[in-house]
């Protein structure tokens, strides 16, 4: 029961106050790319959740292994990245061998999802040295949900940010960046003036 509650709390935090996308400003290039293809968004987020789970558990294990090492700050992220590469290659192989139609349809989101998990899970592992398995799982779940929401909101906002009434200089990406900035402001209201 406590593990479940812990997991839920971690997930909630990852969506709200510790929202890594809006509060940390991490990984928006991936969110923007995902938002341009709203159809694959669900599968994308699912992969992000899955890979995040594996990466944060892996990161947890590595973290305990090199807790005493002096090279930890340099070595750790590399190892996590290797972890993600391994996951990606494994997942791609499995999908290619077993579910080829599925791979053909959604294969292009696999690689960005894997890279994205590194982006999303390193901050977590760097910020917290001691964490439990349940909170890691909760974090992964919450991050997946946050990613889905963020990309969904941006996907819906996108057509409105290219209208003719806007000054030409702001059409498209600049307006999108301002949009993200203002939305991040709303999330900053949850935590107050505090660095991630």
């Amino acid at each position: 029961m406590t593990t479940f509650v812990q997991m839920l709390i971690a997930a909630l935090l990852a969506v709200t106050a510790e929202n890594i996308l809006f509060n940390g400003g991490v990984g928006f290039s991936h969110v923007l790319r995902a938002a341009r293809r709203p159809k694959t968004l669900g599968v994308y987020s699912l992969f992000v959740t899955l890979f995040s789970l594996l990466s944060s558990v892996g990161g947890l294990w590595i973290s305990t292994q090199m807790a005493s090492s002096v090279f930890r700050p340099v070595l750790f992220p590399s190892v996590v990245a290797f972890c993600a590469v391994l996951e990606y290659v494994l997942a791609a192989m499995v999908l290619k061998m077993l579910f080829l139609p599925f791979y053909k349809r959604y294969g292009q989101v696999l690689a960005p999802a894997a890279i994205n998990t590194v982006v999303l899970s390193i901050p977590f592992a760097v910020n917290r040295f001691s964490l439990s398995l349940s909170s890691a799982a909760g974090y992964a779940l919450g991050t997946g949900i946050a990613f889905y929401f963020a990309a969904g909101i941006l996907a819906h906002a996108m057509p409105g940010l290219k209208n003719d009434a806007m000054p030409k200089a702001f059409r498209g990406l600049p307006a999108m960046l301002l949009y993200i900035g203002i939305l991040s402001m709303a999330f900053a209201g949850l935590t107050g003036a505090k660095l991630f």
């Binding site: 009434a165 702001f170 203002i182 939305l183």
Partner: protein, 325 residues
């Protein structure tokens, strides 16, 4: 005699965008009456300075774009006055100007001015200055101390915690019900006079300038949250009273949420939006970093509006049969 070949319709319309904005401006101006009567000319000075700042920002942007200057739709003035209403009276006069500048230059004009803004500009402006100068936004002067406020100069007066701050600390605010209704407590300029606010809201709803569904949804959600999860140990009704009347919930529900540009376009969607905003405002009060973050909640709710619009399809109305011509 030359006759024109003008386009239809040929009658004078009773409502236009500028007349709607003027309605809102009138309602906002009424909110200034009580503070002016009580504390002298400072609210007026604040409003005037902010309006000038708004118009200057508009003009500056038009010059930058090398377009003709046009402020006839008054929407930037509405934004400016809303910001003034949410300020503490003892705030320096440049503070609302900074909020207005952000609202117009960042949250409104780049997105294509009125009709295309994805976020309520006033909410964005308030959020910006709340993050940059939190101490100044939430330090309200004590109205019962009887000090005289200077008209233009920065003032250094005795401050008192607002009921919202008291609630945030888990205590029960101690204000007479009569004072609460007439706004004799520490709080923003325009958001304390509950009775005047209600009257202004009614005026806007009757004029159909604002949509009552949103306000009703927001207040309902706020009341339910306050009754079921009170922040202080008291009866549900007391909790509802303090939660709804403190801070700027009522003001935001009447003036900021009902902005037609940033709210959903179907009746059901509006109710949904109001409920969502109410819940978010209460959550921000409880878990947010500040004593109240209605404008942050409004920004979040605004972001969901396109989803609500596409979710609730407004193409066909239910329960209606149409005859064939």
């Amino acid at each position: 005699m030359t006759l024109l070949n003008a386009k239809t319709p040929y009658l004078k319309k009773e409502t236009s965008v500028s007349s709607m904005m003027r309605d809102t401006l009138t309602a906002l101006a009424f909110l200034l009456v009580l503070p002016v009567a009580r504390y002298g000319a400072r609210p007026l000075a604040m409003a005037a300075v902010t309006l000038v700042a708004c118009v200057l920002c508009e003009i500056a942007w038009s010059l930058l774009q090398s377009r003709s200057i046009n402020t006839s739709d008054c929407s930037s003035m509405v934004t400016g006055l809303i910001i003034v209403m949410l300020m503490p009276l003892n705030a320096p006069l440049w503070l609302p100007c900074a909020a207005a500048a952000f609202a117009i230059l960042v949250a409104k004009k780049p997105f294509g001015s009125t009709g295309h803004t994805p976020f309520n500009p006033a909410a964005a402006g308030m959020a910006f200055i709340t993050l940059l100068w939190p101490q100044r936004i939430f330090s309200y002067f004590n109205p019962s101390a009887g000090e005289v406020l200077p008209v233009f100069a920065d003032c250094n007066v005795e401050t008192a915690p607002s009921p919202a701050a008291v609630l945030k600390n888990g205590l029960k605010p101690d204000i007479l019900p009569f004072d609460m209704l007439w706004g004799v407590f520490a709080g923003p300029v325009g958001a304390t006079g509950i009775l005047v606010l209600c009257a202004c809201g009614l005026y806007l709803f009757l004029k159909r300038t604002a949509n009552w569904e949103i306000t009703a949804g927001c207040l309902f959600a706020g009341a339910v949250m306050a009754a079921l999860w009170p922040r202080i140990a008291c009866a549900p009704l007391t909790s509802i009273k303090y939660e709804l009347m403190s801070g700027s919930l009522l003001f935001c529900a009447v003036f900021m949420l009902t902005d037609p540009v940033t709210s959903p376009r179907t009746g059901f969607g509006r109710v949904l939006y109001g409920l969502l905003a109410g819940v978010l405002i209460m959550l921000f009060r409880r878990y947010g970093a500040y004593e109240q973050g209605a404008w942050f909640a409004i920004l979040l709710a605004n972001a969901v509006v396109p989803q609500i619009n596409s979710l609730v399809c407004g193409d066909r109305r239910w329960g209606e049969e149409l005859y064939e011509e």
